[in-house]
């Protein structure tokens, strides 16, 4: 994966029905890095991600991949460069892990073409990378939440894209599995240079794992940059309407946020 792809959003306006969710948004995704999009519920994070991967047609503006509008690119061509893992993907009943991961090969296959050895290799590599090879013949229904999420990531890996967008890949996982998934994504970024863009709820995990943070509020970019530039007490107040303390995380040297509610706060702010 030597190609560096650029993904950028220009003057993007998105909405559903009468509701405008994102308005006049500009941003550039740094190539080869991990970007996390954070923000309050319903601020347009998932909408932005869906539009970046062609699922939602913009009202105005454009999403550019290597300077080309993604909404005008042939579907399979785009899917060979840009992968997306939606928030709650659906696994067909009874499907095996290897079969599901194999679905990730779709953009590389023609309508009536036969399954190739190359496809098998790609699926195997994805299973090995996500440590799910031992589950290959198991039914996806039987897996735990953490295993299932690794399998979905394996499917996205089998797609062999240089860019990978993930919509809340850690939702419904306990804390150890959240860390496991984020470690896995970081491994991918380091070993293959895959550009990763993910929507994350947990600000501290976002600051820990992302190189680049984008804080959205009311459909606009409120702050953008390295974690220590974005995760500040002012940003948390503006984006979430929440008082907080931001300290330096002693294990990573990155910022971490402690929320301040109305109760059990002994030290005056």
């Amino acid at each position: 994966m030597t190609l560096i792809h650029t993904l950028a959003v220009e003057n993007l306006t998105l909405g559903y029905g009468d509701r405008t969710v994102i308005e006049g948004l500009d941003l550039v995704v740094p190539a080869g890095r991990i970007t996390a999009i954070v923000g309050a519920n319903a601020c347009g994070k998932s909408t932005l991600l869906r539009s970046m991967s062609r699922l939602l047609v913009p009202r105005a503006g454009q999403v550019l991949l290597d300077g080309k509008q993604v909404h005008r690119m042939p579907a399979k061509e785009l899917a060979r460069t840009l992968g997306l893992l939606p928030q709650s993907p659906i696994a067909p009943e009874g499907i095996t892990v290897a079969d599901l991961v194999g679905r990730g090969r779709n953009p590389h296959q023609r309508m009536f073409s036969r399954w190739s050895a190359e496809d098998d290799e790609a699926v195997a590599a994805a299973l090995d990378a996500t440590d799910t090879a031992s589950l290959a013949d198991r039914s996806v229904d039987e897996l735990s939440g953490g295993q299932r999420q690794r399998v979905w990531i394996a499917m996205a890996l089998a797609q062999q894209t240089d860019l990978l967008l993930l919509d809340e890949p850690t939702t419904f996982l306990d804390v150890s599995h959240q860390v496991e998934v984020l470690d896995l994504l970081t491994d991918l970024n380091h070993s293959r240079g895959t550009t990763i863009v993910m929507v994350l709820h947990d600000l501290n995990l976002a600051a820990r794992y992302a190189d680049h943070l984008i804080a959205l509020a009311d459909g606009r970019v409120h702050a953008v940059g390295a974690p220590h530039e974005v995760l500040t007490e002012e940003t948390v107040q503006a984006v979430f309407g929440l008082s907080s303390r931001v300290l330096l995380d002693p294990t990573s040297g990155r910022p971490m946020m402690l929320p301040i509610g109305r109760h059990n706060v002994s030290v005056p702010v």
Binding site: E77, I90, P92, A98, M111, D120
Partner: protein, 354 residues
């Protein structure tokens, strides 16, 4: 010895070999099922030609098929049994393939065209055309397709709310089916003289008195539309992952869905115009095929074959298993209704899929 060997071999398999082995196993099972079902259909077809009120020998039947004039057999086999058995197979293929397309695309076995009103629409239009307007031939099929597509579009429009389909679509479809069924009953009751056989055709499906004139359009529809569906087979499998995932994997979801709907409605409508909405065949074929072939493979061909077998066997039983002749739709309806109840119970417990 064998056990030791298999244990020793196990670690030698690379992940790629494990992946390939699983894939080969799945497709091999599907091929076997297809072969067995096809053999059973051929067997059932032959029996339908030989056996009846009078038994004709294979030599006599072959003679009829080759166009020779065999006393008695030429009429009974050539004019009655041959078109009837042929339409049973063709209509079954259409219902099975059209049904499983909807069930897979909408990720719900209840979303079958005969449950959500598409068959009812085609049937009401055909009954209206034949009984009230006294039209026959291709015009009936065209009207049936128009009505089927119209119903599909109506249900889609009524249930489409910010991209969410599902239970809403099925409930709206059931309501529309009930309305259309009463329309069919009204058309039949207004007709001056309608015989019982003709009425049951439009209510539950019937193959009595079928001629080649009704059979040939179904064959043409199948030859044209089945390849279209098979061409979309991979997109259909991808759609099981949900619209977002399928789209992210390079499927043009809206376009693919449109092609699938038109082709599947076409198959259902042509078969319905010829044989009536044979009860529950479209609904049963997919889930039965899914149980036999297992998960992860295309169900289009297996479900089509199961559909053909259901109609063929159902019609044969209806003719000869009971004292009186029963329309095929009554037999398949008796099979299908309990399964429908079972599915509704199961769907309430855990989300249903094929």
């Amino acid at each position: 010895m064998t056990l030791e060997r298999s244990v020793a071999d196990a670690p030698l398999l690379s992940t790629a070999q494990v992946v390939a082995r699983g894939r080969v196993r799945r497709t091999a099972r599907r091929r076997w099922v297809i072969a067995v079902l096809a053999a059973l259909i051929v067997l059932g077809y032959i029996v339908s030609l030989l056996v009846g009120q009078t038994f004709y020998s294979p030599a006599e039947v072959i003679g009829v098929i080759l166009g020779q004039d065999v006393p008695g057999a030429s009429f009974t086999v050539g004019r009655l049994r041959l078109p009837r058995a042929t339409l049973a197979v063709l209509a079954g293929l259409c219902f099975g393939m059209g049904g499983v397309t909807f069930q897979t695309m909408l990720r719900n076995p209840l979303a079958s065209p005969d449950i959500i009103g598409i068959s009812s629409g085609a049937s009401a239009a055909a009954a209206f055309a034949i009984v009230t307007l006294s039209i026959s031939g291709t015009a009936v099929s065209v009207l049936a397709i128009g009505a089927g597509l119209g119903v599909a579009l109506l249900i889609y429009a009524l249930s489409f709310k910010s991209g969410v389909l599902g239970t809403r679509l099925i409930l709206i479809g059931i309501g529309i089916a009930a309305m259309l069924d009463s329309l069919t009953a009204y058309v039949l009751s207004r007709a001056a003289m309608w015989d019982l056989q003709e009425a049951t055709r439009w209510l539950t499906g019937n193959l009595n008195g079928v001629s080649w004139a009704q059979t040939v359009p179904v064959l043409i529809a199948l030859v044209v539309l089945a390849p279209v569906l098979l061409g979309q087979s991979r997109n259909l499998s991808m759609s099981q992952l949900g619209d977002d995932t399928a789209s992210a994997l390079g499927v043009r979801v809206e376009r693919s869905r449109l092609i699938l709907i038109i082709a599947a409605v076409g198959l259902i409508a042509f078969a319905t115009a010829a044989a009536g909405p044979i009860a529950f065949v479209a609904f049963l074929a997919g889930p039965i095929a899914a149980r036999i072939v297992g998960p992860g493979v295309s169900l289009l061909v297996p479900a089509a074959l199961v559909g053909a077998l259901l109609v063929l066997v159902g019609d044969f039983l209806g003719q000869f298993a009971f004292g009186t002749r029963m329309p095929v739709g009554v037999i398949t309806g008796v099979l299908g209704a309990p399964y429908l109840i079972y599915l509704i119970i199961r769907t309430n417990r855990a989300g249903g899929s094929l």
